[in-house]
């Protein structure tokens, strides 16, 4: 947990204090993956939660599905997932760990299924621009959602950042002055690329 403290200390002081005071619940799983070897998975919460086992099951399935789609090892040997109730975004990857916000979502299973894969994808840092980072994270969350559950999951950024009534960047620019699709509406390019030719 020492690696988690720097990110939480700055962004969520109440979470930081709970970690310092040792007032948290934590589960650890060591998951053997075909390409990555053993990867340690940590779920950290500040409140008891009834769906703990479901989250853990999903996390184990998700890392395997991600590794399979990528076809090479995960870039990290441990994944620390912290459920917070006081963060601005739906989820944030700090490099050392990631957080997921459970304070507002009325559909926890959707958030868990979409948010976990989304945030894990951010560990694969190959480009600094938001459109690629968020676009690939949302794409992989959708892909794994279909593979594991045969249903579409909708990460929070996909629902809130992209206008649904326009279909290309020219229309977006005309309809929303000042809106910069490459940074704020990332998910559309990659799914369209894959669909082309179908």
């Amino acid at each position: 947990m020492l690696t988690v403290l720097p990110g939480q200390a700055k962004s969520v002081p109440t979470d930081y204090q709970s970690l310092v005071d040792n007032r948290f619940y934590m589960e650890k799983i060591t998951e053997p993956l075909p390409l990555s070897g053993s990867v340690d998975l940590y779920l950290v919460r500040f409140l008891e939660h009834q769906t703990e086992s479901a989250t853990k099951t999903h996390l184990r399935s998700a890392v395997l599905a991600i590794e399979n789609y990528m076809d090479f090892p995960l870039p990290v040997k441990e994944i620390i997932m912290l459920f917070s109730t006081n963060i601005d975004a739906g989820g944030i990857n700090y490099g050392s760990h990631f957080t997921l916000d459970i304070s507002e979502d009325g559909s926890l299973p959707q958030l868990i299924k979409g948010g976990i894969v989304h945030e894990i994808t951010h560990f694969y840092l190959v480009m600094d621009t938001p459109w690629f980072a968020e676009g690939t994270a949302n794409f992989l969350a959708t892909q794994v959602g279909f593979e594991l559950y045969n249903q579409e999951v909708a990460p929070r950024s996909n629902r809130s950042s992209c206008p649904n009534d326009v279909i290309n960047i020219t229309e977006i620019a005309a309809a929303y002055p000042g809106y910069y699709p490459r940074t704020n509406c990332p998910p559309v390019l990659l799914p369209q690329l894959r669909r082309e030719n179908h």
Binding site: D71, F72, Y124, V126, I169, L189, L193, E196
Partner: protein, 61 residues
Amino acid sequence: MGDEPFQAAWREIFQTGIEDNLKFTDAEIYQLFFKHTPTDHITRVNRVFINFHGGDFVASP
């Protein structure tokens, strides 16, 4: 592009980027996707980039 060419491009982007510790530019991402695009669909894939990214990289080196 279709599922298989898309996944091939995806894997090359991430594997190369992670293994070689690279940070790609928009043009390089574009070129990697085009590398795996079937020849007879180049124009259509380029149209997707123009529509949803705003960049026309056909003439880029």
